[in-house]
Subunit: 202 residues, 2 copies
């Protein structure tokens, strides 16, 4: 009666179901039994595909962090791109991923880093630092061009914008008053003005 599927297929299934559970309930509150159950098999079988619970978390964070960073990586060095539309791209990409299918009310990234082993944690933090560097580069370029306020601390600005986005998970309810595009428009305008850009209408 035991069916069989290809290996990578099973890995993907586990990652996807575990991701959903981690986001919904949190890492500590999700058991291997829960994950196995959501996949339709027994806990022990998970160990045929992953070393440990922690390694599942690590792989999920790695994948999702890469999804955030990869589409905007080119914005870091490219001097030709308008800083304002660079900012818009960063915000839009990050928000679409944050409020997309896997929507939930928890903050997996913020909270679960401590559950990782040191090398695993370093790998995730490297990506987070890259995100920060991209945002910093865009804003610095804008400030140099006189588009943004010159005396604003850029590091805190990037943290602030990322915070609004990351935490939108908590209060956003799909099908509610606001669409994802509404949020994108708002956050873009809020950030743009926050950075000191001129307003079109006084």
């Amino acid at each position: 009666m035991t069916g069989r599927k290809k290996g990578t297929e099973r890995r993907d299934l586990i990652l996807s179901r575990a991701s959903r559970l981690f986001w919904e309930r949190g890492y500590a509150e999700t058991s291997m039994k829960d994950i196995a159950g959501a996949c339709g098999f027994r806990p022990a079988n998970l160990y045929n595909f992953f070393e440990s619970k922690e390694s599942i978390l690590h792989e999920i964070l790695l994948i999702e962090m890469n999804e955030i960073v990869e589409p905007i990586r080119h914005l870091r060095e490219d001097e030709g791109i308008d800083p304002v539309s660079g900012l818009r791209t960063l915000i839009e990409n990050h928000l679409r991923l944050t409020l997309g299918e896997k929507r939930s009310s928890k903050l997996l990234f913020d909270v679960s880093l401590k559950n990782l082993t040191v090398p695993h944690r370093k790998a995730i933090i490297r990506l987070r630092d890259e995100y920060d560097a991209i945002g910093t580069a865009i804003i610095n370029r804008g400030a140099r061009k006189g588009l943004f306020s010159p005396d604003l601390d850029v590091k805190i600005a990037v943290f602030s914008i990322a915070s609004i986005i990351a935490r939108s998970r908590i209060w956003f309810s799909p099908g509610g008053k606001y669409s994802v595009d509404d949020i994108i428009d708002f956050v873009f305008r809020f950030a743009l003005h926050g950075l000191g850009a001129e307003r079109k209408r006084g």
Copy 2:
């Protein structure tokens, strides 16, 4: 050999030590043994002062949420107060509490609501809603007076500002490059401009 202290004194000790642990490690990652150990006695003794682990969490959240809301409660109705300085007061009070002594890298509020029983959760959410209502009132008043942009969604604006503050816990490091006052100044300016206030220097 068993010493004795007054009851409320012990309750306060437990709340203070548990709060620190919850903020540092998270609720699920903190055991009753940990809390008892931090207080200098055995787990069983905790049940002489609290009904359960969950009730400890609830009381902590209630106290700390009240600390945030109480000092700004009067701003909700008071029409006489300048909206800009009202905004400043809200941000400053919230940030000082967020980055104060109990500084840590976790987001207790955001994450641990699910660990509460329904009535306990409702009590906390009522306070969170009150916070939102205060912020909304201030910004609405400012928009009516022409100080802030008239076509900005006020609800999302309040969420955004609160998100920057709540999440500053994660990246702020005391004794580092920035002081708490630096952060307050930044967030105030960022929010003020984000809301569409005129800038002093173009």
